[in-house]
């Protein structure tokens, strides 16, 4: 897996490349938590358009970050979710707790409008 992080306005954007499993979950947690600490963004947008696989280790780390974001009254977005990854998300019960959009621009637009649950 390769990770890319970027802060834009009030949001942390993360791109996840490849398989999101035990190995990459650890890397994701460490890098995202550091960025959340250091740069204090309120929202988190995870671009999953290049995530080829996700299991419960990946999912668990997403849920952990969701809690951190909820603590700071922010919103979490998943964008570009592929069908095989969506199937795993669907089983987890996480979906009602966050927002799924096609692109990160869509997510950013929703944030600007304040139109998020």
């Amino acid at each position: 897996m390769a990770l890319k992080l970027e802060c834009r306005n009030d949001a942390l954007l993360v791109w996840v490349n490849g398989d999101f499993d035990l190995v990459s979950a650890a890397e994701f947690r460490q890098k995202v938590d550091t960025a959340l600490e250091d740069q204090r963004p309120r929202h988190l947008i995870v671009n999953m358009s290049r995530m080829t696989f996700m299991d419960s280790s990946g999912l668990g780390v997403l849920l952990g970050r969701l809690k951190l974001i909820q603590n700071r009254k922010g919103r979490m977005f998943l964008t570009g979710v592929r069908p095989e990854v969506l199937k795993v998300l669907n089983l987890s019960g996480i979906i009602p707790l966050l927002q799924i959009t096609k692109t990160e621009d869509e997510a950013m637009a929703l944030l600007r409008k304040g139109a998020v649950k």
């Binding site: 499993d21 696989f53 299991d55 419960s56 199937k87 795993v88």
Partner: protein, 154 residues
Amino acid sequence: MNRDKLKMNSVMMTMQSKAVNVGLARSMVAALASQCDAVTVNALEELKVAVSEAVSNAIIHGYENQEDKQLILRADLLEDGILIAVEDEGVGIANIAQAMEPSYSQDPERMGLGFAFMQSFTDRLEVESAPGRGTTVRMFKYFCQGDQKNACQA
């Protein structure tokens, strides 16, 4: 979970209890299952998740993240599906029924969805375990839904 179907192929892989090997196990099972032309992309994706969960559990829970232990993955390609066994010689499980309940996890950082995923993504799941004696997880997955004609010719 002894099935009388013809065995088309069969592989055993012994590997170290390292996180990187979760992906290795997944690729191996996917490559083996792909030998059967009838396998659907959907079944392959689900199988990969199930294998990932079982191997991750052996590493995290069975061996408590000690990287120098051995785990065994067995995969038997049958006419209509694949039989997987993941074995560790780790701590074992005292209460299997409880452990298999969704959202039961001994690890606060985890969601307790591993067994739930194995259950949802395969057609049969069996867990054999005892404290101090390690754990064996066996799963069977059909390659496609109720299609007799699509038997494997690998």
